[in-house]
């Protein structure tokens, strides 16, 4: 079993092989979990979402065509969609509760005031979801630009724009902490024509 290629394992999984499923878990669980943890910012939510990703691998393996994409790309796509769904649910619930209690204080504004902007974890958490996902996939997960573009369902050009905006926003959010480590204000070097 351990010598099987991924395509063979997927085929066996699609025929209901529990051993193939466990082997694929061994191959991909840690990587997907790292992505989800970085997206969610906490291990508890990440555990539930990671579990759901791999339950879908078991129950919906027949939906996956290994000729069209790599399994890691498919798993990251499921993980990305589940994370986005979770965020949107959280925002709806938070807005609803705050509206009841306070008449509409902006929850993200409260977060920004109460946390150190120079903390990288906080800065990543404050990125818009798609910028966050793009940076986590390309910088931490080592996915190629094409894989990340497929997962986000955008072109490579759009991905690069997302990444650039995300990195720029991160730099701005971290500016308080970065200014102590570089000489002068933080701005892009001038470019000749």
């Amino acid at each position: 079993m351990s010598g099987n290629t991924e395509e063979e394992l997927i085929s066996q999984l699609q025929n209901g092989s529990a051993r193939a499923y466990q082997q694929l878990l061994d191959n991909h669980l840690a990587s997907v979990n790292r992505y989800v943890v970085r997206m969610m910012g906490n291990a508890s939510d990440a555990e539930d979402i990671t579990q759901e990703v791999f339950l879908r691998l078991w129950y919906k393996a027949s939906n996956f065509n290994p000729k069209l994409a790599k399994l890691s790309t498919w798993l990251h796509q499921i993980a990305h969609n589940l994370c986005i769904d979770h965020f949107r649910r959280q925002v709806r619930e938070t807005e609803s509760k705050l509206d009841e209690l306070t008449g509409g204080i902006d929850p993200e504004g409260v977060l920004i005031q109460n946390r150190r902007k120079s903390d990288i974890k906080t800065a990543i958490r404050l990125l818009p979801e798609r910028q966050r996902s793009a940076i986590v996939m390309c910088h931490y997960q080592g996915l190629s630009n094409r894989e990340a573009a497929v997962i986000l369902d955008i072109s490579v050009d759009a991905l690069e724009s997302l990444l650039s905006r995300g990195r720029k926003k991160l730099r701005n959010l971290l500016q308080d902490g970065l200014q102590g480590s570089v000489q002068g204000p933080v701005q892009a070097p001038g470019r000749g024509t």
């Binding site: 499923y21 669980l29 943890v37 990671t50 339950l55 974890k121 390309c138 650039s164 730099r171 070097p189």
Partner: protein, 148 residues
């Protein structure tokens, strides 16, 4: 490769060459090695990359997570009976054709059986005469049967 494209690459992907698009990587590396402005841009992006590398969230024990996932799959595994019942008794009203199809099986089977029984196999002058006599319950019939 030119400075404009190189600046877009590092602005998006950072200072690590292994993160750059594979088809442009070699050109970008060669360009950077011979261009001072490109090296400045690289250094600028490297600072953020180093900040990003400090993000090291706490991970749960993967072995524990794997065991939990496998246990969930095992607990949810359905027997063949469960699968058949789910198929024939769907929750989705658009799939009510399934129980209708199942209910029509006896009718279809009955029609098929009936079509395969030839009436000629049952026909026989003697047997029909006997039947009528028995139904009539007459003395003549008794003699008729005795003669047979």
């Amino acid at each position: 490769m030119n400075l404009d494209r190189f600046s877009k690459i590092v602005a998006a992907y950072g200072a690590r060459a292994d993160a750059w698009p594979v088809e442009e990587r070699d050109d970008a590396i060669n360009f950077m090695q011979s261009n001072a402005e490109a090296q400045e841009l690289l250094q600028y992006e490297r600072v953020l990359d180093q900040q990003l590398e400090t993000f090291d969230p706490a991970y749960i024990n993967i072995g524990t997570l794997k065991s939990r996932i496998v246990a969930t799959v095992k607990n949810n595994q359905k027997t063949l009976l469960d699968v058949l019942l789910a198929w024939f008794l769907p929750e989705n009203p658009l799939q009510l054709w399934r129980p209708a199809l199942a209910a029509s099986f006896p009718l279809v089977i009955g029609i098929l059986v009936g079509m395969n029984i030839e009436v000629s196999q049952l026909e026989s002058n003697d047997s029909w005469d006997e039947e009528f006599c028995i139904m009539a319950l007459t003395v003549d019939c008794v003699e008729f049967i005795d003669e047979q």
